[in-house]
């Protein structure tokens, strides 16, 4: 394992509740370093959605500090948090990640329209957005030119997830957050997908935070964090109670 880089995510005494008095997330400390590939194991009810909301800057903590790339994003204005997310974080979700009416390439280049820094990153590589999108897709083993012309709704789930990965990686964001991206894939494609994702994150220098309830994948990562142990709130709330979304 490589030596630890700069901290990318640092949560300190973070508490969050939807209503005053109730706490769904209570994390004394969570530290993720640059270049790490971290597996966060989170069964339902462990506060996974809330954690992603906090990291993405959609939610702000009731108490404590959420620091991403050494920025206390909880103190940012909502507009600045949106900017920050667009420029520094790429997301991959469970499924239905793509905009159905855009082509494969348009889906991949979509973040560049909202994130000036990632647009500049692509420009500094000396290519245009389309070329970069195709390069990433090729790396993720989507090489058939005809496939790229097809509506995204005609792709298989595995292909769709690779398109989503290319979109999360374009413009080299500092952080890639993947939320159960493999749960719709079968076990063979699952591991292949993760290996491709690793390779691209390393090439882009992005830190990967991978959230899943499937502990079978845990071994592939540098490090794993069990959210229900880290989150003290999940310990004083009975499991199986519906998660607040």
């Amino acid at each position: 394992m490589s030596s630890l880089g700069q901290p990318v995510i640092h949560l300190k005494d973070v508490q969050f509740g939807w209503q005053p008095g109730t706490v769904v997330l209570d994390i004394p400390e969570l530290l993720i370093h640059q270049g790490e590939k971290v597996f966060i194991r989170g069964p339902s009810g462990s506060g996974k959605t809330t954690l992603l909301g906090l990291l993405g800057g959609v939610l702000t903590p009731v108490a404590g500090v959420v620091s991403v790339l050494r920025n206390d994003i909880g103190r940012f204005s909502p507009a600045r948090r949106d900017h920050f997310r667009a420029n520094h974080i790429g997301f991959i979700f469970q499924m239905f990640n793509l905009i159905p009416y855009l082509s494969v390439v348009d889906n991949v280049t979509l973040p560049l329209g909202f994130a000036s820094k990632r647009r500049e990153n692509v420009q500094s590589m000396g290519v245009d957005a389309r070329q970069e999108a195709i390069r990433l897709l090729n790396h993720l083993e989507l090489t058939d030119p005809q496939l790229l012309q097809r509506p995204v709704t005609e792709l298989s789930i595995g292909q769709q997830q690779r398109v989503a990965a290319a979109r999360a990686l374009i413009g080299r964001p500092d952080l890639v957050i993947a939320d159960e991206p493999t749960s719709a894939l079968d076990s063979d494609t699952r591991e292949a997908f993760i290996r491709l994702l690793f390779a691209e994150c390393e090439a882009a220098g992005s830190t990967l935070v991978f959230v899943s309830h499937d502990s079978a994948l845990e071994a592939l990562f540098d490090r794993s964090v069990a959210l229900n142990e880290t989150n003290r709130a999940s310990q004083y709330r009975p499991l199986g109670q519906p998660e607040v979304v």
Binding site: T49, L52, G53, V58, D82, A86, F91, F96, F114, R167
Partner: protein
């Protein structure tokens, strides 16, 4: 990728509903524009039933009554004008020409108008258009008649045919002028005025018809005068019903009007036809306002339809919004996206509506001109059209703010994850 680009792609993904929405706006816009155009043209056509005539003179009555019987041939004159008075007043220095008319007879429900050759020379309607002939020529012989286009079309008459006129104006007249049949010398082109519904003969013809009548009663066989004998008699009429006046200078109109109104020997009224027609339109023109109001309602319905379409699409698009948010779209991007969508609906709908309206105008203009004599001018969009277009776009912006605001609130509440 720009918001506009996204909005267009998103709409083309929902082609059917988007096109239907645009089409419903377009139809409502075309309807409103069409109704307004026809309304304006109908008013213009109505108020220029008579043009180029400075004054209409008849026996003393209200101006409306005089207008109705002299121009529209509705109702009856209160009295006649004696030939002497007509001669004296028409020899006034200010007068350029006069067209006398004598009413009282009919043919199959259509009015017979006794008049002079000056009618074909000087009568104007609409946009300074003279009377023109579809075939034939003005009356020339004593027993010649010129018929309007509707008379010819409804009764199936052609030039050269003989007709018998009836005494009185009841639709089923008991007494006919069988002894003196008339020959149709010409058929007029449609004018869209009461001229389409008349049978015109000379004043002398009117006189000849009644030369053997005594006190409004038909002659018995003993005293009747044959058509050929009537030709040899003095046929100068003793009176006329009304006359149209063209002045050398319009400036003299009020002076001549006063001279007529204050004429000592006979009680007369002179009216300015344009003013009287305008007054009459005020009376009959309220239906067109109702029609316009209905068309405005249809446009509002079209816009509400657009609002419904967008609002119903919001729920199924929550995931789409969340994805956009996750790739960096700010909530106001979502708001702008939705507003852009409303504007695309409104602008393309309005444009298509204009195209539809102009297409329809080009298609029906010749038909209206030929069938009804109603001339509709096809002009570039005027003040009304521009105001309408701007009003629709502004309304769509205001209405579009409703779903845009909902989408904005949704995207704030949903964040990056919607689990449907």
């Amino acid at each position: 990728m720009s918001i506009l680009h996204l909005a267009v792609k998103s709409l083309s993904n929902r082609k059917t509903t988007a096109l239907l929405t645009i089409f419903s706006i377009a139809i409502s816009v075309a309807l409103l524009l069409g109704v307004e155009r026809v309304r304006v043209e109908a008013r213009n056509s109505f108020t220029s039933t008579v043009s180029g005539t400075d004054l209409v003179v008849g026996a003393r009555s209200s101006s409306l009554n005089l207008l109705l019987y002299s121009v529209f041939h509705l109702g009856n004159a209160t009295n006649n004008i004696t030939w002497e008075t007509y001669q004296e007043l028409s020899s006034n220095k200010a007068v350029a020409w006069t067209i006398p008319i004598a009413l009282g007879d009919s043919h199959q429900g259509y009015r017979v108008v006794g008049t002079a050759q000056t009618l074909f020379e000087h009568f104007r309607f609409g946009d300074d258009q003279p009377i023109s002939f579809k075939n034939g020529k003005p009356f020339d012989d004593l027993y010649d008649a010129v018929i309007g286009s509707e008379v010819a079309a409804v009764l199936g008459y052609q030039a050269g045919q003989e007709i018998v006129l009836s005494h009185g104006v009841e639709s089923r007249s008991l007494q006919t002028h069988q002894d003196k049949p008339f020959r149709i010398s010409g058929v007029l082109k449609p004018t869209g005025t009461p001229m389409d519904r008349v049978v015109m003969i000379s004043l002398e013809g009117i006189e000849a018809l009644h030369i053997d009548w005594v006190n409004g009663a038909a002659p018995n066989a003993l005293f009747s005068v044959s058509a050929d004998r009537a030709r040899l008699m003095d046929l100068q009429p003793s009176s006329i019903t009304a006359y149209f006046v063209g002045l050398k200078s319009r400036v003299a109109a009020f002076r001549y009007q006063r001279a007529v109104n204050e004429y000592r020997q006979e009680a007369l009224t002179a009216i300015l036809p344009g003013v009287a027609l305008g007054e009459l339109w005020q009376l009959v023109g309220s239906a067109e306002k109702a029609l316009l109001a209905v068309s405005v309602m249809v446009v509002i319905a079209g816009l509400v339809g657009m609002l419904t379409t967008i609002l119903t699409s919001l729920n199924e698009r929550r995931r789409e919004m969340a994805i956009l948010r996750s790739v960096g779209a700010r909530p106001w991007h979502i708001f702008t996206l939705m507003m852009t969508e409303s504007l695309i609906y409104a602008i393309t709908g309005t444009l298509l509506g204009f195209l539809l309206m102009y297409g329809m105008l080009f298609a029906i203009q010749p038909v209206l001109q030929m069938q009804l004599g109603l001339h509709i001018t096809i002009a570039l969009p005027g003040m009304f059209e521009w105001i309408l277009a701007v009003a629709i776009v502004i309304s769509a912006t205001i209405l579009g703010a409703v779903p845009a605001w909902r989408a904005y609130k949704n995207s704030l509440a949903d964040g990056l994850t919607v689990r449907l």
